[in-house]
């Protein structure tokens, strides 16, 4: 028996199988995105920091909205063409739909890419600085990796005297990185303590690895292997001994319950010692001439004297100056600082005057004074309409303000901003360092730093999650529709109605994807 109702609808339900299935599937999708949108509401209501409002460039989002709406129209035309058995027309409209999807994803990729390279940093006083970091230099030129990419220079430097690896946990690439850095500076890293007695018993004088052996990945792996062997051996011994001890204790205390005698039962470590193998849970290396080791901030918990990598490697040594260097600062944001000041009952303006950046960077002080004048003007302007400047107007100096200031002061002649800048952010090369100055922030001032990625705050987290998932839906839908476009010909010739059904179902999904964007666009870009 064939499965019925694939092409023709069942009389009493009036539906084909796939039509029922797609509506069910969409119901489930509604619940999925419902979960995300309610998360958005939760995040926004519960935010304990100033929620970024109207923070994304509207133009790319707006264009994308129209592109998706257009594609929803063309997909219906494609379906209609198929119903009329006009293959050529179907191809054109379906092609247009898939093309729209591709353009949408390209614009999305540009948007994402800009954010992935845009650095933000929150200082201890809750002021926020945004911009782009310095690239790693190779004799005054940008250092170019083999794959042609520049790498940013944002490292924590330590004058390391010794490094202690966790035997079971060390992360190989990081060991290699440490080795490489030490070698570059001509420092040797040697094992501090010998690994003794490994082949025999702990009290034997055989030495498995001599003290003074130079660090290499092979050495670490060798020690790890021996350590794991010893650990397994010792644990087995101890477990067996404990089992024996319990047997004896039970025999000696008939009728007693386990928990009544448990504190009398234990392993006699001294007695076992001759049979135990030496374990080496941590491997310590001395560095003969203290070398400067550098680590990515996200991998290290730094402290003067003793820092710790995420794989439990301990770096002993003095913390060196490792400021975070902004090649260009393109925004200073005091909204969070102002919020905190109000909570503490301090005048926000005073708090801003006392903030690190105003105290330490002349350009910031200048910009802030200019900004205050601008706000005053705006206040007068808005007062006519019985309105007030928003917190964002008051406390944030964005790249457009910086550009405007430069323009007013005659430093550039670029005008306020160009369409391209709406997409890609400010054009540093053209506007120069006068507009977007250089700044070095001492590491100690930094409370939290991140690119504009999900890590930065819950706004970006939910933005990337919803739009990313929506993007995956666009890709998935485009793949399916593209499949009908490029591989549908055979089915068109044998069973065009079936193909039309499939396109209809695909189109329904496509409308749904469009609908999600219709919700996502205003909540992320406009509100």
């Amino acid at each position: 028996m064939e499965i019925p109702y694939i092409v023709k609808a069942r009389k009493d339900t009036g539906l084909t199988n796939s039509k029922i299935a797609i509506w069910l599937f969409l119901a489930s999708e509604v619940m999925l995105f419902g979960g995300f949108f309610s998360a958005y509401v939760f995040m926004r209501i519960g935010a304990d920091y100033p929620w970024p409002e109207r923070t994304l460039p509207v133009l790319p989002g707006l264009i994308n909205t129209f592109i998706l709406i257009a594609s929803s129209v063309t997909v219906v035309f494609a379906w209609a063409a198929l119903k009329l058995r006009k293959w050529r027309q179907f191809q054109i409209f379906m092609g247009a739909t898939v093309l729209c999807a591709a353009i949408f994803m390209c614009l999305k990729a540009v948007e994402y890419n800009v954010k992935f390279h845009h650095q933000a940093v929150r200082l201890n006083d809750y002021s926020i600085i945004e911009g782009h970091l310095d690239y790693k230099k190779d004799k005054d030129k940008n250092y170019i990796k083999k794959d042609g990419k520049k790498i940013e220079y944002n490292l924590i430097n330590i004058k390391a005297e010794s490094v202690i690896f966790s035997t079971v946990r060390f992360h190989k690439p990081w060991v290699e990185q440490i080795l490489e850095q030490a070698e570059e500076q001509g420092s040797k890293m040697v094992l501090t303590e010998p690994y003794q007695g490994a082949d025999g018993r702990a009290d034997a004088k055989t030495t498995y690895v001599e003290a003074g052996t130079e660090l290499s990945l092979d050495l670490l792996l060798k020690i790890r292997e021996q350590h794991l062997k010893a650990r397994a051996h010792n644990q087995k011994l101890r477990a067996d001994a404990l089992r024996c001890a319990w047997q004896i204790a039970k025999d000696a205390n008939p009728g007693k319950r386990g928990w009544e005698i448990s504190d009398q039962v234990g392993v006699d470590a001294e007695k076992l010692k001759p049979d135990m193998l030496t374990e080496m849970g941590a491997i310590s290396f001395k560095i003969d001439s203290a070398a400067k080791l550098s680590f990515k901030p996200k991998n290290i918990k730094e402290a003067d004297g003793q820092s710790r990598l995420r794989d439990d490697t301990v770096i002993k040594g003095k913390l060196l100056e490792s400021p975070m260097k902004f090649h260009h600062v393109d925004a200073i944001d005091f909204q969070y600082l102002a919020m905190k000041a109000v909570q503490k009952g301090i005048d926000p303006m005073v708090a801003i005057e006392n903030s690190w950046i105003i105290q330490n960077a002349d350009f910031a002080k200048e910009a802030w004074e200019w900004h205050c004048e601008e706000v005053e003007k705006l206040e007068k302007e808005l007062a006519k309409q019985d309105r007030e400047p928003t917190l964002k107007d008051r406390y944030r100096i964005g790249w457009k303000e910086f550009s405007k200031k430069a323009e007013q002061e005659g430093m550039t002649d670029m005008g306020d901003w160009t369409i391209l800048e709406e997409f890609k952010g400010p054009n540093y090369a053209a506007r120069g360092e006068e507009t977007f100055p250089h700044l070095a922030v001492p590491r100690g001032e930094i409370a939290f730093a991140s690119k504009f990625v999900p890590q930065w705050n819950t706004y970006y987290a939910i933005y990337f999650t919803i739009t990313g998932l929506h993007g995956l839906h666009v890709i998935g839908g485009a793949l399916v529709l593209g499949y009908y476009l490029f591989f549908g010909r055979r089915m068109y010739e044998t069973n065009p109605e079936w193909l039309a059904n499939r396109v209809e179902v695909g189109g329904l999904f496509w409308h749904f994807v469009d609908l999600i964007w219709i919700f996502a666009f205003p909540i992320f870009y406009l509100m």
């Binding site: 499965i3 010792n234 999650t465």
Partner: protein
């Protein structure tokens, strides 16, 4: 017999082995695959529990050899301390026991296996609406399950933040693993997303099949209660799982992209100090999204058991299901209500009295449909000529066991009582009564009931006795003391069974102490040993079942006909075992599903598919045999 005839047909070549048994698109084979896989996962989950029960009963003693002999020394050295279970390992086992039993065991067994095998047969469909999608559901489920379990053998170990995976604990567990994709806690989430995808595809398939592929004459109110249960289960899976998927994806973002969806500001842990996160997230949001699934999930577990029992009881009491229509409406109400009770799992989060009153009310309300269904099942026995066939024993045990489970849930519905009982062994006892002797017994009834259809042979009644009685006793030995301990205040996550709370000044252990709670613990701690013994005995009691399952396949008593139980529903109209396409002739349905002991009929059962002999008889108007009007035949 007809299946044999089928295979001799020249037009039907047997597909190759891998296509027939492994990448099969036949709903019956997929159902069996689900069933076997789910039982293996159940066994694994059971093993984890046995180890945990050792730690609870004998926290200071090394695991016995019989429990751990197949583990490598290296693994033991990593996860045990002097051969004893560490708290961390206990958490890992506990989290995975819950996950495996719920997501990888019972749901696939109830919905995946029984739903797949029986539903299309009972509605007279040749297969599921989307056979290849059906295959995909199974494989995605298997992959998800394996991903979750594989993490036991990795550096990080498996997930260890409870089966509920609450943030922020689950957000930073395994944080020391540099590549977060290789952390057990992350793999749990990936596995979960796979499982949700699988059940989403499955539920779409089930609902479509039930709506569109019913045989001619199979009107809604002629569908067996089994099919109704599966329909509601399908909707629960369809609509309740996606919010958890959203939560899972957000937690995945928290782990791999270091976002702060569920991480509050200023989070401080002993491992890493002040977390280097933006903060600003809401741990409560995870709980809401989790329990939005979590409660419907309970009914996803339960309804397939109801379904099996509702088929076994009429067949073996030779009496129509009592109050069939009422049961159908009640299962629909149950499905709806299950979406608005979730926050009764969260009374302890300090929600306001208005919200807790709302959820308290809905929770009490939802007990009504459950009670109506269970009472209908009970009344169905009344005045019947009951035959205690092997499946019937399980079905009869299901009713009181589920009854205990359900009734002990009532105190938990009330905010006031729940504040005392929350997170104690009382809760564990309550839901295990529902799931283990309740749901599992119902599913055992199903296995024994349909086994003759699947294999053409009965399962051994003697081995079944050997399975049934010890299981019934052990289940109560394990779970009844939990209710007592829970009321005394035993916390559900103690890895040492409360030993840490005893007042053990050297040599004075067990004596009356000034520490009142220590005295309470001392009074009840010995129950741990009883329960653990019960659990291990329960494991032994499953051996006859496994033997029965395999031995009877080849040596069981052969069935005398295609309808060995003299049942009325459509699956018994197929050849034994049903071939590809299920029915040899197109099935037509003339009447409701439970026509037993009719006065106007000679035999004590009148199957749905038997054409009425006498159109003028009074039964015709009742039968309303007008299948031809339902569709036009050109489609087929």
């Amino acid at each position: 017999m007809s299946a044999d005839a089928h295979s001799h047909d020249d037009h039907h070549h047997d597909p190759p082995f891998w296509k027939k048994y492994i990448f099969s698109t036949d709903h019956k084979m997929i159902g069996l695959q689900y069933g076997i896989t789910a039982m293996l996962f159940l066994a694994f989950g059971f093993y984890l529990m046995m180890v945990m029960r050792w730690s609870i009963a004998y926290p200071h003693q090394p695991l016995p050899e019989w429990m751990s002999f197949f583990l490598t020394d290296d693994w033991k050295a990593r996860w045990l301390s002097d051969g004893k279970l560490t708290g961390e390992t206990y958490n890992m086992f506990g989290a995975m026991h819950g996950t495996i039993m719920v997501f990888l065991g019972i749901v696939p067994l109830g919905f995946g296996a029984f739903g797949n095998y029986v539903t299309p047969l009972q509605i007279g469909a040749p297969d599921m609406a989307f056979p290849r999608l059906n295959m995909a559901s199974y494989w995605i489920y298997l992959i998800g399950g394996l991903i979750m379990c594989a993490s036991f053998f990795m550096e990080s170990g498996a997930a260890k933040s409870g089966w509920t995976n609450y943030s922020p604990l689950a957000g930073f567990a395994d944080g020391q693993i540099v590549n977060q994709w290789l952390a057990g806690q992350t793999q749990w989430l990936i596995g979960l997303v796979c499982l949700i995808t699988s059940s989403l595809l499955g539920s779409v398939n089930f609902i479509t099949t039930i709506i569109n592929l019913r045989a001619r004459g199979m009107t809604w109110m002629r569908m067996p209660f089994f099919v109704w249960s599966m329909l509601v289960t399908g909707f629960l899976l369809l609509l309740a799982f996606p919010p958890l998927e959203a939560a899972g994806i957000m937690q995945l973002m928290d782990r791999v992209a270091h976002s702060s969806f569920f991480m509050p500001t200023g989070l401080f842990t002993s491992q890493t100090g002040l977390a280097e996160l933006s903060g600003g997230g809401s741990p409560l949001l995870f709980q809401h999204l989790f329990w939005f699934l979590g409660h419907p999930e309970v009914y996803v577990l339960l309804l397939p058991a109801f379904a099996c029992v509702s088929d076994v009881i009429p067949v073996n009491s030779r009496k129509p299901l009592w109050g069939y229509k009422g049961m159908v409406y009640m299962v629909l109400v149950l499905g709806f209500l299950s979406f608005i009770v979730w926050a009764h799992h969260m009374y302890m989060t300090g929600m306001g009295p208005v919200i807790s009153t709302f959820f308290q009310t809905t929770t009490v309300l939802i007990s009504v449909p459950s009670v109506v269904i269970i009472t209908s099942l009970l009344i169905s026995l009344w005045g019947g000529s009951i035959k205690f066939t092997p499946p019937m024993m399980w079905a009869c045990a299901f009713i009181p066991m589920f009854g205990i489970g359900g009734l002990t849930g009532l105190p938990l519905a009330f905010n006031l009582a729940d504040l005392h009982l929350h997170d104690t062994y009382y809760v564990i006892g309550h839901f295990h009564y529902v799931v283990a002797p309740g749901i599992l017994f119902g599913l055992f009834a199903g296995v024994l009931h349909w086994y003759p259809k699947i294999t053409g042979r009965y399962m051994s009644s003697w081995l079944n006795q050997l399975h049934f009685w010890p299981s019934l006793i052990c289940m109560n030995v394990i779970f009844a003391p939990m209710l007592l301990q829970g009321m005394a205040g035993f916390h559900r996550r103690w890895y040492n069974g409360g030993d840490g709370y005893l007042d053990k000044i050297a040599g004075k252990a067990g004596e009356e102490s000034a520490n009142i709670f220590a005295n309470t613990v001392a009074q009840h701690i010995d129950l741990n040993i009883l329960m653990s013994m019960g659990a291990w005995t329960l494991a032994l009691a499953q051996i006859p079942f496994v033997i029965n399952l395999f031995i009877s396949w080849k040596t069981g008593k052969k069935v005398e006909s295609d309808n060995p139980w003299n049942a009325t529903t459509l699956e018994w109209a197929t050849p034994t075992p049903p071939g590809h396409g299920n029915f040899t002739t197109e099935p037509v349905v003339y009447r409701g599903p439970y026509e037993y002991s009719r006065a106007d009929h000679d035999e004590d059962y009148l199957p749905q598919w038997v054409e009425p002999k006498n159109k003028t008889a009074a039964s015709v108007s009742q039968d309303k045999a007008e299948p031809a009007a339902l569709e036009d035949k050109s489609d087929a």
